[in-house]
Symmetry: C2
Subunit: 412 residues, 2 copies
């Protein structure tokens, strides 16, 4: 008998039929004798609808009141899910963030969890045979104000709750069967990854794979909580994310991710003396522009070019900062290139295997794909290519590292 | 400077525009230097929509979970109203039932208020200049389960809160300008009543006037809280409901109410011996049938007819009970007459004035309206007439007691 925390997103809860379907999915696990704690998001588009209403009342709605408003979505889900379970003959009970004592700081709309005080209450209900249905995304300050946890908040609730309850696993139920070696819409041959380390999952996410939010994976890594990304429509094992082990290290590359949501910015003719780069990137940070990859070219006649990538959505903010920087450092100007894409290969095996980078560059060159920027970490190699070559680059690398179903390596 | 509790219903909160309109209405009172506590219902049809969703999941949704679900409607209203007030430059803060410490028993969907623990919190916020926006309809058990208060729950929240805060008045903002002498759709000449005693308000409501729920008026009477029913679209005084005073006693009849939502049931040929009536009405009570007027005819050959009126919506339940009763007491049978209406004249002046009943019967006779049943209380006289004569009866009595605008008595 295991203690399982399951998390369901809003898309799984958009209609009464979907609630019933999810209820059956939960009951299947309960019937095996497991203790079940369910974390749910708001039904369907509820949160967006509420924000839309609020924005008709105020351009920037007060953040305390926005949390008060948004938290109602998850509260609806827990009540509806509990009703559905009870109707099917099971004991179920809903809990708001306040009732589980998910204590946060008071940074409304992006609060951080400080403590979970109500674990004993959940444990008691589980002992009495209840399926416990807990509202994701929400918490409460020590002054009893309602807060929300920001993007990926429900995932975080699930992981934090699992930590407090010492659960065996947190299952994230998805439309897909698990984390894939790459986007199956792009590469038909893509297959499910069986195991990932926390770091691989983090690199895959920041590389563009929209599976789990990094906050939750980092939390899980810190507390060593086993995560399981699996399909709502299947009972098969999905992708288990846990502490790195020997077996994982045998797999050199676990997956290929990509994003076309970044832009490349080049500041041209920057005087090449100490402290310039520090100045540029601290100004960008102050302007709340998140910088991803950075390259500084070799100096030429005392000036140099600095290139970096940022998220498309930061472009407006970036321009404001860049206008100031260019004047301040007396650079020649800057250029924004939105037609690029970033492709990354991720795998813990890179730590112990050599030659991965060169194999990657060779494969891309063989496919006549030009590399514009390169950045590497211990377990990830990323390259920037032309946007219209991203698809080809992903396919090339997926093949080169034998990630497809047709080329299953023995370790899998 | 007064402490005013204002209550707004869901119809006043159906759209963003209505929230803004209500916000302006609140601000007008705030600007006069008053401390404002606002109690709101759920926006528009939210509660009905939620119940509809729930009923697709379960025939009879679990009552604890139904409360968890329904309470989100009012929570949305308090957040949205606070945002609207803040956007207009005022300090405002929302409070759920839990946050105000509205402690109830655990009878889900119809809980009773036991205590209001958070009055000091509201007082403090008022002192700091906040407009306090409190969720109506909801409370919390000592075990922190969310409850709702049943029909008219938001009105009750307003009155209970006013009691705890020692507020000067509770204002109920309505589409109408106050409590009317009778339905203005029926009698063009109907006019607003300036003052009513609690008992008059109770009798008017139970007579059919849908203004305030009796629970709230009874609560206000017990704690001597002044109520003010007034128009959302006007700043004029509406109807003030308070402890009876000398001035009120001068007015013999304050208003005429009527309902066509009752049916008359006659049990025929009931053996006329002691205990039969007790048996009949205790059985009906057990069957959750609310009985209003009762008449027992004079005995004839050892049997009698018992007539009474019940709400239309109890007819199905009543039939079940009546089938049993008729057998048990060996009666001849029963008859249900849905084509009746009840018309009532209400006024505290009846206590000191004589001849009101006979004046009423005379007026109806002059208009050729036949009276089928009569019942009287200290401050109310009700008659049952044919349904198609209700309109004529109301007009006749409204004229007879000079309630119209054109016939304003000196006391008004």
């Amino acid at each position: 008998m295991a203690l399982i925390v399951q998390k369901y997103g809003g898309a799984s809860l958009a209609t009464p039929e979907k609630f019933k379907f999810v209820a059956d999915r939960i009951i299947r696990e309960k019937k095996k004798g497991n203790q079940m704690v369910i974390v749910v998001s708001a039904p369907g588009d509820t949160t967006d609808d509420l924000i839309e209403f609020a924005e008709k009342l105020a351009k920037e709605p007060d953040s305390r009141e926005l949390d008060m408003l948004m938290s109602t979505g998850e509260q609806q889900s827990i009540a509806l899910m509990s009703m559905a379970l009870i109707e099917k003959g099971y004991k179920a009970k809903s809990f708001t963030g306040a009732q589980v004592g998910i204590v946060t700081d008071s940074k409304h709309t992006k609060a951080r969890i400080m403590d979970i005080k109500g674990a004993a209450k959940i444990k008691q209900a589980l002992k009495e045979g209840y399926i416990c249905v807990v509202a994701g995304f929400q918490g409460i300050t020590p002054d009893a104000d309602i807060t929300t946890l920001g993007r990926g908040g429900s995932d975080l609730t699930a992981v934090a709750l699992a930590t407090a309850l010492k659960a065996d696993v947190v299952e994230f139920l998805k439309d897909v069967e698990g984390v894939m070696t790459t986007n199956p819409e792009l590469v038909k041959d893509a297959k499910k990854i069986d195991f990932l380390s926390y770091d691989e999952m983090l690199e895959l996410s920041s590389g563009g794979a929209q599976v789990l939010y990094n906050r939750s994976v980092e939390y899980a890594k810190n507390y060593n909580v086993v995560l399981h990304v699996r399909g709502t429509f299947t009972d098969k094992q999905g992708t288990i994310i846990k502490k790195e082990d020997k077996k994982m290290e045998k797999i050199v590359v676990s997956g290929i991710t990509y994003t076309t949501k970044e832009a490349k910015i080049t500041i041209k003719g920057v005087p090449d003396h100490p402290g310039i780069a520090a100045l540029v990137f601290s100004k960008l940070a102050e302007g709340e522009v998140n910088v991803d990859m950075i390259i500084q070219n070799v100096s030429d006649n005392g000036t140099t070019d600095i290139s970096f990538t940022i998220s498309m959505k930061d472009i407006v903010r970036a321009k404001k900062v860049l206008d100031v920087i260019v004047k301040k450092v007396n650079a020649r100007g800057y250029k924004i290139d939105e037609k690029i894409g970033k492709v990354s290969a991720v795998g813990v095996g890179m730590r112990t295997h050599t030659g991965i980078a060169s194999a990657m560059f060779r494969a891309l060159a063989d496919s006549r794909i030009n590399i514009e920027m390169i950045s590497t970490s211990e377990i990830k190699i990323s390259v920037v290519v032309r946007e219209d070559q991203v698809g080809a680059a992903v396919k090339t690398l997926h093949d080169a590292f034998k990630l497809g179903r047709k080329t299953v390596s023995k370790e899998n």
